[in-house]
């Protein structure tokens, strides 16, 4: 036929180039060795640096263990609540290392892991703890020393969204606990303080790292309510001399728990290595890594070695006000206290 086929012939290779090139690249590129075990750890936001270290060290440790082998651990980060929902949505996490027990409870309620998950590892599955502290600009220009200072006129508080972030929930509860322990206070007065506090919050990022970026990189706000580990990271590693960490008169014992997701690990055949990974966090090595990244170790010996790095602060236990099962429902469920006090800005 007399139609211009030559032009088509010229076009074919050009059309194929954007397909064939990447296809070749995706097949030929090395690294996807199949023999090794892969473990997915779905974690919360500020643990990026911690688990980068832990993953590398655990891989080295596991290859020397009897019955061990080659393992690569991947970690996914985000707001703890959002991460927990992603796991519910099908994110294939072998282990979860989240910021708050209620985010793992949700998974247990849906049958992804045993209801008694907390009892399977030492210290009710909490390998390290933290506190909620204030991070302020260097020299503390607004003189923010305690929770009562945060609700003064003109003070802007940066903290993540409690609905999606565990750091946000711990900060909220730390403030709530302080207010509850003021002379003559009751629940209504404490809720009133919380409502006033969140009026001073201009930005609610979805994760703790987002909030740190807002405060540190974008220079928003006067004080960041942060995990102690995140605050120390910012003060020591990100902007030496640009920020100060302030310990308020009271805080909360923030306990980020860990657990093997039974259903996924069973499917992947990774139960053994997954448990070993979590137990490694409790080993002296794991505890040292945690301390290095500013998490408070629970091992008394390691804790003693690093005692100077963590200032003493009076910290309440959430168990004293009913624990997270109660708090989550009362404060953070749909239509809970947080929704009500924040409905204006929602």
């Amino acid at each position: 036929m007399g139609f211009p086929r030559r032009r088509l012939l010229a076009a074919v290779p050009l059309c194929l180039a954007p397909v064939a090139l990447p296809a070749a690249l995706s097949v030929a590129a090395p690294g996807s060795a199949l023999a090794q075990t892969a473990l997915l750890n779905v974690s919360y936001d500020p643990t990026r640096e911690l688990y980068k270290d832990v993953n590398a060290r655990f891989a080295a440790f596991w290859s020397t263990q009897p019955g061990g082998g080659v393992v690569t651990v991947k970690t996914s980060h985000g707001g703890s609540g959002a991460q927990s929902r992603a796991v519910l949505d099908g994110l294939q996490a072998d282990v979860v290392t989240l910021g708050i027990e209620s985010d793992i409870d949700v998974l247990a309620d849906k049958g992804l892991l045993a209801k008694d998950w907390a009892g399977r590892l030492p210290n009710h599955s909490v390998p390290y703890t933290s506190r909620i502290v204030f991070l302020v600009r260097h020299g503390n220009p607004k003189r923010l020393r305690d929770w009562s200072d945060l609700v003064q006129d003109g003070v802007q508080v940066i903290t993540p969204n409690p609905k999606t972030s565990s750091g946000g929930r711990w900060s909220y509860i730390a403030a709530y606990l302080w207010a509850l322990h003021q002379p003559g206070a009751d629940e209504a007065k404490a809720e009133d303080y919380i409502a006033r506090l969140y009026k001073h919050v201009p930005i609610l990022d979805t994760g703790a790292r987002g909030s740190t970026n807002t405060f540190v990189q974008r220079n928003e706000g006067d004080v960041l309510l942060a995990w102690e580990d995140e605050a120390l990271l910012a003060a020591h590693d990100l902007g030496e001399g640009k920020f100060d960490v302030v310990y308020p008169s009271s805080s909360v014992i923030a306990e980020p728990p860990v657990a093997v997701v039974d259903s996924v690990a069973k499917e992947h055949g990774t139960e053994k290595v997954a448990e070993a990974y979590l137990r490694y966090l409790y080993s002296p090595d794991g505890q040292e890594i945690a301390a290095k990244h500013h998490y408070r170790p629970i091992d008394p010996q390691v804790a003693a070695r690093h005692a100077a790095e963590f200032a003493p602060v009076k910290a309440y236990d959430v168990a004293t006000i009913g624990g997270w099962r109660v708090l989550q429902q009362k404060h953070f469920a749909e239509g809970g206290v947080f929704d009500r006090i924040y409905s204006g800005g929602r």
Partner: protein, 285 residues
């Protein structure tokens, strides 16, 4: 086959072209699966808690502020983009300074730069410590973290749309028209107002519409520079992401649906304008 016969727009009797079944079959499957089905889900989802709930969700101050910001910034940015685009198209077509080919090639840069990359480079550039942000901060202007920053990002992504729409029309516009007007004693301002603007208007409006439609939904290039402050610099697409991570599917879908409807209206408007633009049919499709 029947479809080809049914609407006999063309008067002559055509030999029936084969392939209706495979062509329509695949097209409908493709459109149905990839567009119709997801959009149906988007249209259905917001109503699951009832219309009053949806109305309440969409009218909270924060949502309203986000929508106002997204639409407002996109409008302003599209206006600025149209002006800048006209300037660039004019220089490229009528002035043709030395190096115009390079200028022409550079226009397509925003097409090439993935939005996330554009976002972090613009954020770095306009941050108070950046190359442009620092001198401006010295003058007391702040760009990153304000609606102005969002505008800058939107102008960046929208610029090629306007230039590429206006340029061909300007090219087809005979230069003699302007010269004739000048010989007849028209002044420069008159020429611009009476001769050029009416001729270019459909193209400018199309470019504006395209830049606007793109700007309203833009996400990647904006979130890095915007500051994401609720009520101040939080764009609607980000609010969708936040609602989603709060497990509020209906709320997320509600905002998404509202944005989709608006975007579709814009698209329809642009299509109408394009019909009045015969010279452009080949380019803008």
């Amino acid at each position: 086959m029947r479809v080809a016969l049914a609407a006999g727009r063309r008067p002559r009797t055509p030999a029936i072209i084969p392939g209706a079944l495979p062509a329509f079959g695949l097209t409908l499957f493709w459109v149905g699966l990839l567009v119709l089905l997801p959009l149906a889900a988007l249209a259905e989802r917001p109503w699951e808690n009832g219309a009053p709930w949806l109305l309440a969700t969409l009218t909270t101050p924060r949502t309203l502020a986000a929508l106002r910001l997204s639409f407002g910034c996109a409008l302003c940015a599209a206006a600025v983009t149209t002006l800048l685009g006209l300037l660039l198209a004019w220089v490229l077509e009528r002035v043709r300074p030395p190096g115009w080919r390079m200028l022409d090639a550079l226009i397509d840069l925003p097409f090439a730069l993935p939005t996330a990359v554009a976002g972090i480079t613009l954020a770095t550039l306009y941050a108070p410590t950046g190359w442009i942000g620092a001198p401006l901060a010295g003058l007391g202007f702040r760009i990153a973290g304000t609606p102005v920053g969002i505008g800058v990002a939107l102008v960046f992504v929208g610029l090629p749309f306007v230039v590429r729409t206006v340029l061909p029309v300007l090219r087809d516009l005979p230069g003699e028209l302007e010269e004739a007007a000048a010989t007849l004693g028209a002044r420069r301002g008159q020429i611009a107002l009476r001769v050029l603007l009416p001729a270019l208007f459909p193209a400018l409006a199309t470019g504006f519409g395209l830049a606007f439609a793109r700007g309203v939904g833009e996400y990647g290039s904006v979130i890095f520079i915007a500051g994401n402050k609720p009520m101040v610099s939080e764009i609607a697409p980000l609010l969708i992401v936040i609602r989603l991570s709060e497990d509020d599917y209906a709320g997320a879908a509600g905002i998404g649906l509202l944005m989709l409807v608006t975007a579709a209206l814009c698209l329809m408007l642009v299509t109408l304008l394009r019909r009045r633009l015969p010279a452009m049919r080949g380019v803008a499709g």
